[in-house]
Amino acid sequence: MVSLVYLFNSLLYANTIVMLSVGLTLTYLTTRVPNFAHGSLATVGAYMMFTVAAVVMKESLVSGNISMPLVLGFVLAFLGGAFAGLMEYLIVLRPLKRRGTGSLGLMISTLGVDIFMVGLLNIYADILRGMRPATGVSRDWWLRSYVLSKVAGIPVGVWVSFGVMIGCLTLLYMLLTRTRFGIAMRASIENPQLAQVLGVNVDLVNMASWIIAGGLAGLAGALMAFVVRINPVTGSDEVVAIFAASIVGGLQSLLGGVVGGYIVGLSSTLGTKWLGDLVGVDLAAYKRAVPLIFIIIVLLVAPQGLMGVDWSRLRRRIIGGRSVREERLTVPHAR
């Protein structure tokens, strides 16, 4: 059986993957770039959190009262991730897009950005180590031991993680459905040319999407420090899991990113644990291979992702009846 601690850890991990996968999907929808540096944006957030909690306000980490540094850390993590995301768009992707670089070239450039950011983060980690952080190290650190105190029987870290995740996704939902700018964003996702003709500043929309995606990634990185040991390559290693989540969700809708995030996040933690218990072998070492296998299966079986599968048609195949989508298609011809 899975212990309660393991379940909490899996949920924490899945929450971060959800936030990352929503951001990745958002930038893919607006700029059509599969951003391989998305994981490193999260690492930027994680190191922002580390800077506040372990370096600048290290007394509170020692005394154990860390609500203040956590709040400040999350704010800085959002800003750091958003800044890095915006810079990636402004310095690298926008000029390349204006040059007419194809999707392959854009993808390679994000790989370059990722490697470059890992280099910078490594340098930054060296600097932080020189500043004697409260954890003693600036690599392989985490904040897990500081968020274990329980409120209503559940560790603080889990409350914070769900709070941040649900809060962010609600705000994003409100932005996209309740504000003029959000509706303009959705319009330019649907049809950039038409949106531009109607006076939507598509470039501004793109910048906003990179700020939002970067900020979400930064927050996710800070949350990830509750459950994963962070070093400068952590995000870069997680990027395949993020892609897996987005691809399972279909890279078409943000909701797909949420669903895919939970499927991939939970199956790579809880799934491998259950499977390992079932066959009597410890499969924990292979858990990072699970998202990759997801990618391969989904892309080969249902390249549009879960959200692209015509579920009612699938149901009709199994239990009979007509699919909504097929009815829509067939009615005009029937007349």
Binding site: I123, A244, R288, L300
Partner: protein, 371 residues
């Protein structure tokens, strides 16, 4: 810096890196540059080749050892039976096998040839499997799929007990037949480096010769046709799926050979060596810098980047005072910024792809004039 940096170009190590990376980047150029299949799982084939190079000479080598050597291993292990090659007695077993190979050059050569051939076959199978998504997915999805497949293989092989798990393996030396020749010329210390360089250089030169002939042949023009307009190639009756399959099989077999040669030179297996940055992204950077689709350009790109990497590794301590950070991170900064800068300033690479004529241009002009 300055003058001493020339010394590095006289070391066999640098040229070995150039030769091995030339095999990988030229094979990538065949797939991505000439045929237009964005293979971001290049390290998959390299890993599989390295696994063959790590497993075959050891597992097979244990069985062909003479009885007295087997007895000696059993006694040293004290278990009553022959321990597995990947057990904790791995380095001792490897030493026995290497000694056996050293005294039997013919066996050593046979094992070398068998390893290379097996690596090529395994690589071709990898290419066969990779062609399944390649025929179905568009470029960014295909790239993600191949990258994911390679990463999954890396994680599995890093934890496989048969490959020594996270401890890795010490691999017996199958190049002893060549080492005994080179040690007479360059001395014992350099012998293995020089002989691995010779093997890698011969393979790289053969591949360059082959690819240069290929792009001038009707087949080469067909490959470029598939890249430029797949629908048009299909309309002309070409089976583009079969062409992609053959290209991927060829490219993966070559990369796999590079992986097995790398193992033969380093004599140690640890899966993390074959990560995506080292064997896929660097190879892409070399190809893009040199010029996609242009073999000689790719070779130049390989030389430039392999040299930069080696210079950084060699002169870490010399440049440390001039940098505000640890020079080990320079590798990442250089690779990352280079990919972006080349795409911005010169996306076609140093040598842009040129029209390739079936014969030298002069000869074609003479023929036209004679008509």
């Amino acid at each position: 810096m300055g003058l001493p940096s020339i010394g590095i170009f006289l070391t066999p190590e640098l040229w070995f890196w150039v030769a091995v990376y030339a095999i990988v980047s030229l094979s990538l150029n065949l797939e991505a540059g000439i045929t237009g299949i964005p293979n971001f799982g290049k390290h998959l084939a390299v890993i599989m080749g390295a696994i063959v190079g790590a497993a075959l000479p050891g597992y097979l080598g244990v069985h062909i050892l003479p009885e007295e050597a087997k007895q000696a291993i059993i006694e040293a292990a004290g278990k009553g039976s022959l321990p597995s090659y990947a057990s904790s007695y791995n380095s001792m077993i490897s030493t026995y096998i290497t000694n056996y190979y050293a005294s039997h050059p013919a066996v050593s050569f046979a094992m070398f040839a068998l390893t290379i051939i097996t690596a090529a076959v395994v690589g071709a199978i990898v290419g066969l499997l990779a062609s399944y998504p390649a025929a179905r997915l568009k470029e960014d999805y295909l790239a993600i799929t191949l990258l994911a497949a390679a990463e999954a293989t890396l994680i599995i092989s890093y934890n496989a007990p048969a490959l020594g798990g996270t401890q890795g393996l010490t691999v017996p030396n199958t190049l002893t037949w060549l080492d005994s020749l080179t040690s007479r010329i360059v001395g014992r210390n350099m012998a293995h480096q020089v002989s691995s360089l010779i093997v890698a250089a011969v393979v790289a030169a053969t591949i360059l010769w082959y690819l240069e002939r290929l792009v001038r042949s009707p087949m080469g023009r067909l490959l470029k046709g598939v890249r430029e307009n797949e629908a048009a190639a299909q309309a002309l009756g070409k089976n583009t799926a079969a062409i992609k399959l053959r290209t991927l099989m060829m490219g993966s077999a070559l990369a796999s050979i590079a992986g097995s040669i790398f193992i033969m030179a380093t004599l140690g297996w640890i899966a993390t060596t074959y990560n995506r940055v080292s064997w896929t992204f660097w190879a892409w950077a070399m190809m893009i810098l040199g010029g996609m689709g242009n073999n000689r350009g790719v070779l130049l790109g390989t030389f430039i980047l392999a040299s930069i990497r080696q210079l950084i590794t060699y002169y870490k301590d010399a440049i440390r005072p001039y940098l505000p950070f640890d020079p080990v991170w320079l590798d990442q900064l250089v690779l990352g910024s280079l990919l972006v800068v080349v795409l911005m300033l010169r996306p076609e690479g140093i040598f842009a792809e040129k029209t390739t004529y079936p014969l030298p241009r002069k000869m074609l002009e003479d023929k036209a004039a004679a008509r």
